[in-house]
């Protein structure tokens, strides 16, 4: 049962590599994705006993298992993957090298699925590395010198991050840190060596933070995401970054447990780093003209919202973080897809070139608008809720730092508005002397955008829908 979500992408990926014809390949890709989603749904409903893949000498083993947090991410990721796929078919077709793209697209999903169902830190690390390696081809897709450079940068940063995490793991292993995950932490009461553990946590968070684009290791993100083809950058920004978040959640709440971390120097430092990231990300996005780059910067900033929430180490904060994860995934995907669609059609890449695009591709721009609103956090979109929770929890639990945090979030929201809305505005209201020509993209591209836009919108309207389970989940962490 646990293996199914891993099996289908694997099979699909291999097929994608082998099948030369386009239609059957696309069909098989879709089938694989649907099956993956289905199997993960089933897994979430049925649950499963943890299983041991392999005992590695040295007292560690690769174990798979499923729990609440796993369920959440499992569903999120497989769903988004499925939704984005149709968009990719036409898009990649004009990029070329489709087999390679879809093969790695599915294999990356495999690694993500593994990430969600991994039961202990070593397994997590394994799938994490795997994800890095498998997602590199997505960045590399075009094979140009820029792409190569970006890919190697991405590789270097990710591996450095992962290795930091591994180093933390080395330190932990001695205290049983490589055991099965359990909410609230698995470390026995460690008196004297707490400094060591806190250090380990700090390092691991920094390490996983790399994927989530947190300062100081965010530089790769804004290089790598833009050069990837739009669907790839969509999932990279929307999901792969979340893998980093998942890593941090796992280490913080399932290995160390909040208790030994609350109030330590590490927590404060990391929170400050997160806030810095939020702010600087938004500012750079505001200054950036290249659309995809801008979105990438905004990713940097947005994901750190979630990190900030997690680092508060409070139930509300965690809840806010989870919501942010979900909504940012939806919103940022739709933004990237919309951007991709626009570039695909118009070939324009800079934010100020989209004058009147709203007349030409209204649906696309509508989706873009919804995504933007959700990202800014304007009620009633979902983004509003997540940011609300984050801000309140920040103020509730933390004095000065909390207030500063809330302020930063607000400021960054304003900046977000500043760098997203103008596009929408100029897109819809180009001015009188503009003769639009219809050039909306096809259904296979529209449907995903619409779906994602809705998923960024609907749960916001009926916030209970999502907030209820997630609040339970976040409460269970403590």
């Amino acid at each position: 049962m646990l293996f199914l979500p891993l099996l289908f992408p694997l099979a699909g990926g291999i097929c994608a590599f082998l099948i030369k014809k386009e239609r059957p390949r696309n069909l098989c890709v879709m089938a694989a994705l649907i099956l993956t989603l289905a199997s993960s749904v089933a897994l979430c409903l049925r649950g499963a006993e943890p299983v041991t893949l392999l005992n590695i000498g040295g007292g560690i083993s690769l174990r798979l298992g499923i729990d609440g947090m796993g369920r959440f991410f499992l569903l999120l990721m497989s769903a988004v993957w499925l939704i984005v796929a149709p968009f990719a078919f036409p898009y990649i077709k004009h990029e070329g090298r489709d087999r390679q793209f879809f093969g790695f697209y599915l294999l990356t999903l495999l690694s993500l699925m593994g990430l969600c169902v991994s039961k202990n830190a070593v397994t997590l690390y394994m799938f994490y590395e795997l994800m890095t390696l498998l997602s590199i081809p997505l960045v590399l897709h075009s094979g140009t010198e820029r792409a190569r450079y970006a890919a190697l940068k991405y590789l270097g940063y990710s591996v450095a991050g992962a290795s930091l995490a591994l180093f933390g793991l080395f330190l932990l292993h001695h205290y049983g840190g490589s055991g099965d995950f359990a909410a609230g932490g698995i470390l026995p009461n460690v008196g004297s060596s707490q400094w060591l553990l806190v250090l380990a946590w700090f390092l691991m968070t920094l390490g996983f933070g790399c994927k989530a684009g947190m300062i100081p290791m965010q530089a790769w993100l804004t290089t790598a995401h833009p050069v990837a083809p739009a669907p790839a950058s969509a999932v990279l920004s929307g999901i792969i970054t979340k893998a980093g978040v998942l890593g941090i959640i796992r280490t913080t709440y399932f290995v160390f447990g909040p208790d030994i971390l609350v109030g330590t120097w590490a927590q404060k430092t990391l929170m400050i780093l997160a806030l810095l990231t939020v702010l600087s990300g938004s500012m750079l996005a505001y200054k950036e003209k290249h659309l995809k780059k801008r979105l990438a910067y905004s990713t940097v900033s947005q994901v750190s919202y979630a990190l900030f929430g997690l680092l508060l180490l409070t139930p509300t904060g965690a809840l806010g973080a989870l919501l942010q994860v979900f909504f940012h995934a939806a919103a940022k995907d739709v933004l990237f897809l919309a951007a991709g669609a626009m570039i695909y059609r118009t070939g324009r890449e800079y934010a100020d070139q989209y004058r009147g695009i709203g007349r030409e591709m209204p649906v696309t721009l509508w989706c873009f608008a919804i995504g933007a609103l959700s990202l800014i956090g304007i009620p009633p979109t979902g983004g509003y809720f997540s940011k609300w929770y984050l801000a309140t929890s920040a103020i509730e639990y933390y004095g000065a730092l909390g207030v500063v945090g809330a302020a930063v979030l607000l400021l960054s929201a304003l900046l977000t508005a500043g760098y997203l809305l103008p596009i929408v505005a100029r897109g819809f209201f180009p001015g009188r002397d503009y003769i639009p020509e219809r050039r909306e993209v096809g259904a296979s591209m529209l449907v995903p955008m619409i779906l994602l836009a809705l998923s960024a919108l609907i749960p916001g309207l009926f916030s209970g829908l999502l907030a209820m389970p997630l609040s339970l989940l976040s409460a269970s962490l403590f």
């Binding site: 590695i56 040295g58 094979g143 290795s163």
Partner: protein
């Protein structure tokens, strides 16, 4: 029965010597002869190991020469010998097969295979040596038997490399000679004894000088193990034909050095004499520096084999670090990495060699698009690279994990530094191994060949070893637990 342990040494040496006298005309005949003797040796080694495993040491112990009462040239197969013996016994015939094809464009095959066989026997001797004198003897022999292989082409670079090689090796041996004198003076016996041979009554008051001698001899053996600062012969030696660099400079010779260091620490001076002393700090520091230094240089090196050589330097010091921890866990960890690195690195070298052989390209920036022409080579390369850079659950990770956790368990700053060094080197490893794959597959500016001269995968002589080794490397990773159980026998003094 004692023949079992001395035949694998004598047989290849004699077979190699005979090759010079016989000097066969046809390549076919030579290949059959060489392969037969290699396989025979391998089977004898395995038989010997098996016999010892089932019937105990007495079954295979043997004394070749008795110089005087205390000094003998004698063989004894213990758990460590088994591990090392198995590694070389498996890898040698495979490399031989590879060499048949490769040496066609190097020439002087007769000389090559003669010394190649000889060094097989000598390495065996190192594996099976019972005491320090025997170890020292074979250590010297190893230098002599491999020198012609390094200088094979006898051109300027080869001569330089060879010169450097033997100067370093002899200096190392000289240091070891001093060790020998001291062990004769202060030791109860020269035979390897787990826990050390020092005579506790005699060494009273002499501890400091003995520790100094330990450090000296550590670097003496460290020459072959390419420990910083006595490493620099190894990259230069990569001018040798690829089978040599692959087998000798990734496995046999360098592992002999590492193996000797293991003997020195655990079976010579003994851990309780060294543990926690300044001597340990020094040797650990050396290992740590080498780890980082090697990887850093590997990133900068553009020559493919040179890069791999530097990577070898770094990885050898993983093992050495494990040994210098002077804990049973460290010993086991070091041995594990010894096994895995042997298989993985030889594969990588074979790939580099295959590329050189088919396309004559030696530099990593000459690889673009080759993967599409030589899929097998680069597939095996990538898999082994992933293994080496420590993607769980592949070999590299197992080794790294055990070494690092063991060194953290030391609880000293040095221990943490060791783990940190491993991490740094891991990052660098990715940076020097993967770009080759990336370029070879994805680069746009694929060089265009007219199909006549387009490079292809080499023939079975090369591909089969490649595939075998890769498969073996992956398979080993999945039996890592039983493997470690076996290895922990060494730490149990078996």
């Amino acid at each position: 029965m004692f023949l079992l342990s001395c035949l694998p040494i004598l047989l290849p040496v004699l077979a190699g010597a005979f090759l010079f006298l016989w000097n066969p005309e046809s390549r076919r005949a030579r290949e059959i002869y060489v392969m037969a003797s290699a396989l025979l040796t391998t089977s004898i080694i395995l038989a010997a190991i098996l016999t010892t495993y089932t019937q105990g040491h007495d079954a295979t112990d043997c004394t070749l020469v008795r110089f005087s009462s205390g000094m003998t040239l004698s063989l004894h197969i213990d758990r460590a010998s088994m591990i090392f013996g198995m590694i070389i016994a498996v890898l040698w015939p495979i490399t031989t097969a590879y060499a048949f094809e490769y040496m066609k464009h190097e020439g002087k095959e007769n000389k090559f295979f003669g010394f190649f066989l000889m060094s097989y026997g000598v390495v065996c001797g190192i594996a099976f040596a019972e005491d320090f004198l025997t170890l020292y003897i074979f250590y010297e022999m190893l230098t002599l038997s491999t020198l012609p292989l390094v200088m094979h082409s006898l051109d300027q670079k080869a001569r330089y490399a060879g010169r450097k090689y033997f100067i370093y090796s002899f200096s190392g041996a000289a240091a070891v000679f001093i060790l020998l004198i001291f062990l004769m003076q202060y030791g109860t016996t020269l035979n390897f004894t787990y826990g050390g041979v020092l005579d506790l009554k005699k060494i009273v008051g002499e501890e400091s000088i003995l520790r100094a001698v330990f450090v000296l001899s550590f670097f003496g053996f460290g020459v072959k193990a390419a420990v910083f600062p006595v490493h620099s012969w190894l990259p230069d030696a990569s001018v040798a034909p690829t089978p040599v660099t692959a087998l000798l400079h990734a496995v046999a010779v360098v592992k002999s050095g590492v193996f000797a260091i293991m003997r020195l620490i655990y079976f010579g001076f003994g851990t309780e004499f060294l543990y926690g002393t300044s001597a340990q700090t020094v040797v650990m520091a050396a290992a740590i520096v080498t780890i980082v230094f090697g990887s850093a240089r590997a990133v900068r090196a553009q020559h493919f084999k040179r890069r791999l050589a530097y990577s070898t330097i770094s990885n050898l010091s993983y093992i050495v670090l494990g040994f210098t921890l002077m804990t049973p866990a460290g010993l086991t960890a070091g041995l594990v990495h010894m096994v895995f690195h042997a298989v993985l690195k030889i594969t990588l070298f074979f790939c580099a060699g295959a590329v050189m052989y088919k396309t004559g390209r030696e530099y990593v920036y000459e690889m673009p698009g080759l993967a599409r022409k030589m899929p097998i080579v680069f597939a095996t390369y990538t898999v082994s690279a992933l293994g080496l850079l420590g993607l769980p659950p592949l070999g590299g990770f197992v080794g790294k994990w055990n070494i690092a956790t063991a060194s953290v368990a030391l609880g000293t700053p040095m221990g943490y530094a060791g783990a940190a060094a491993l991490i740094v080197s891991a990052v660098l490893t990715v940076l020097y191994l993967l770009p080759v794959t990336v370029d070879s597959i994805w680069s746009r500016d694929t060089l265009v060949y007219d199909d006549a001269h387009a490079p292809k995968d080499p023939n079975a002589y090369m591909c089969v070893p490649l595939l075998l080794l890769t498969a073996g490397g992956v398979a080993l990773a999945f039996v890592s637990q039983p493997l470690m159980a076996l290895l922990s026998g060494v730490a149990a003094g078996m």
